[in-house]
């Protein structure tokens, strides 16, 4: 991929939380590239660092006490980690946005939905209050909220979960950002509503050209909407590939284990659980973090495996790839 195609590049991102009991290495050397207009799935189990990665990219963490962030996060060539808080405020919502799992906590309960969406263009662009409000109503219509004019005057508690998430999406896309980070946007929703929101994200990507990082633990969601997938385990990326390739030919034993542990409709074979559980982020094993649970672990796994190209557009961090060379 050439550089012009890449909108967001994360290089060797590390996040460390200092606690009384010791340092938690929540993100430990993440490298990611997001191309313009693509949907990248960032997949992993709870505690693997996927949300912390997103928050570090948005600079929502890193300035607090006990939080250490290092590495580079380039948005169209500019390193976000070097920006002042004032500069970040100008960027967030305009060029890079984020939506969260629970839409209720992302909305202010004492403002009407229309007014809080209108805040975004008011903050970032030279528009009148009236125009900003009209934009908000227009966005509500775009995200498929029925009778948007009337709904804009309502408060968040009068909305259902699905409509709240639509409103949050409307807010995040109001200024047509180049990048949207969606952190488990459908996890709190029912399947039929989830299907609606996933359709909506795909439509918006097409209409606005927004590149999306979709953080999820649900491989089904990934298969439905993502172009490329990155799999995270214990603070690092262990595999990344185009979605079709990853499901067809998973190379990393963790990815293989995840896919085998999913119950599939129409298949009643025994579920192959991954034995054990993820490592303690305070005491990460030397070498490969997955080795203690890996059925194929061998001597070399006591060294840390780098993420390396194993096929076209397909990277994996596993020594097995080199075992037979």
């Amino acid at each position: 991929m050439n550089d012009q195609n890449t909108i967001l590049r994360v290089e060797d991102l590390r996040v460390r939380f200092r606690t009384r009991r010791g340092d938690v290495r929540a993100v430990d050397g993440v490298n990611l590239e997001l191309n313009r207009g693509e949907i990248l799935g960032l997949v992993g189990e709870s505690g693997c660092g996927k949300s912390v990665t997103a928050q570090a990219v948005m600079r929502l963490i890193g300035d607090g006490r006990g939080e250490e962030v290092s590495g580079r996060v380039e948005l169209d060539g500019e390193d976000l980690l070097q920006k002042s808080e004032k500069e970040m405020t100008k960027l967030r919502g305009r060029r890079i946005s984020m939506i969260f799992q629970d839409p209720m906590t992302s909305l202010n309960p004492v403002y009407t939905v229309g007014n809080q969406i209108a805040e975004v263009p008011l903050l970032h662009e030279k528009v009148t209050r009236r125009d900003a409000y009209a934009r908000a109503v227009g966005m509500l219509e775009t995200v498929g909220i029925p009778s948007p004019k009337e709904r804009a005057r309502r408060f968040p508690h009068e909305f259902s979960g699905g409509m709240r998430q639509r409103s949050v999406i409307a807010m995040s896309l109001c200024c047509k950002p180049e990048v949207l980070i969606a952190d488990e946007p459908t996890t709190a929703l029912d399947v039929t509503i989830q299907a609606q929101i996933l359709d909506l994200l795909q439509d918006l990507r097409r209409d606005f050209g927004t590149a999306i990082i979709l953080i999820t633990h649900d491989l089904g969601v990934v298969a439905e909407v993502c172009d490329r997938v990155a799999i995270m385990y214990a603070g690092g990326i262990v595999e990344q590939a185009p979605a079709g390739e990853l499901f067809r030919k998973p190379r990393h034993p963790y990815t293989q284990g995840l896919l085998a542990s999913l119950p599939k409709i129409g298949d009643r074979g025994i579920l192959k659980a991954i034995e054990g559980r993820p490592p303690d982020l305070m005491n990460l094993p030397e070498g490969c973090r997955f080795a203690p649970r890996c059925p194929h672990a061998f001597g070399k796994c006591s060294e840390y495996p780098p993420l390396e190209r194993v096929a076209e557009e397909h990277d994996a961090a596993c020594w097995l790839e080199k075992k037979h060379e």
């Binding site: 298969a223 284990g257 999913l262």
Partner: protein, 329 residues
């Protein structure tokens, strides 16, 4: 044949009063479970699926009288649980147990694992020496080390806590277990461990399960028969293979198509349901699904469809179920 039936649920209703205070005129009812009937056969797993608020958890709790039913009957081995006195209920209670969704809030953080596991036995007056022995057996049965007994819930991961919750449910050798979203709070790799464990225990202890879940792939994997609920009503009930191969109710059909499948090459023919689940305090007249049903006709707006047998052992509440059968065959 009838002796095989562990539970017979008939016209079960559970209404909750909402709003209105003391003035009877403004009183409204949320009909969480509204005239539901089915049987559970000994040794089977019956899965109940539906979206949040459809009444599936209320159904489970009302069945074993953790909630008092508003109407209808629940026969457990022929005895009506709805009318039995509290005193007579207690010896029956040890025969049905529950596994809960959240292994963090369902275990008392101030009790050691031993006390958590012994508590149901204390309530039901199991002698002390037997309790000690049983705790060891239970931990072994759910794949936990024996030294877990003197540790506390916070020392365990989510999956291990769920194992403890399962061990507690087994403490009184129950016949019947209601598992309410037992794996929804767990990561996929851990989910598979718990699902496998539940299926092993079912064989070992000859258990009957009611599995309540919103995840259709988990339900399909574990259940023998599956019931689908929508707004307090059972809309379809049949054996698992038939349900997933030839669903007859339009709600079941769209629900199945809405599940994201981890296979990007699958041909996408997703039919997205329009709109959202209506307010259960004011459910639509006629068929409750007609506001979102892609096939709704005039009759569906007027007339509530009966829950009727549309094929051998296959029940559905849709006026046009036969039509869909032919279309799909």
């Amino acid at each position: 044949m009838s002796s095989d039936r562990l539970f017979e649920v008939r016209n079960l209703k559970k209404y909750f009063r909402v709003g209105g205070g003391i003035s009877a005129g403004r009183r409204r009812f949320l009909k969480a479970v509204d005239d539901v009937g089915f049987d559970i056969v000994r040794g089977e797993t019956l899965g109940i699926v539906g979206e949040s608020g459809c009444g599936k958890s209320t159904l489970g709790r009302t069945m074993i009288r953790l909630l008092e039913p508003t109407g209808g009957r629940v026969l457990f081995e022929g005895r009506d649980l709805a009318s039995v006195s509290d005193r007579d209920l207690k010896p029956l209670r040890r025969r049905f147990q529950m596994i809960f969704q959240d292994p963090h809030s369902s275990l008392n953080p101030r009790m050691s694992v031993r006390r958590i596991l012994e508590e149901p036995m204390v309530t039901h007056r199991v002698p002390r020496a037997d309790r000690r022995k049983k705790v060891r057996e239970l931990l072994d049965a759910v794949g936990m080390p024996a030294d877990a007994a003197h540790r506390y819930p916070h020392e365990f991961s989510g999956g291990q806590r769920q194992r403890i919750g399962i061990a507690r449910a087994l403490a009184l050798n129950p016949d019947f277990i209601i598992a309410d979203e037992p794996v929804a709070a767990l990561d996929v790799s851990i989910q598979a461990q718990i699902i496998n464990l539940m299926m092993d225990l079912q064989k070992e202890f000859n258990l009957t399960y009611l599995l309540i879940a919103h995840d259709l792939s988990v339900v399909e994997y574990v259940s023998d028969r599956v019931g689908v609920m929508y707004l307090g009503k059972l809309v379809e009930l049949t054996d698992r293979d038939t349900l997933y191969r030839e669903p007859l109710h339009p709600y079941t059909q769209t629900l199945l198509k809405a599940i994201p499948v981890p296979d990007p090459e699958r041909s996408r023919e997703r039919v997205t349901l329009k709109g959202e689940v209506p307010d259960p305090v004011h459910p639509p007249a006629g068929c409750r699904f007609h506001t979102r049903c892609p096939f709704a006709e005039e009759r569906c707006r007027r007339e509530e469809p009966a829950f009727r047998e549309v094929g051998p052992g296959h029940h559905a509440a849709c006026h046009f179920a036969e039509k869909f059968a032919r279309a799909d065959a």
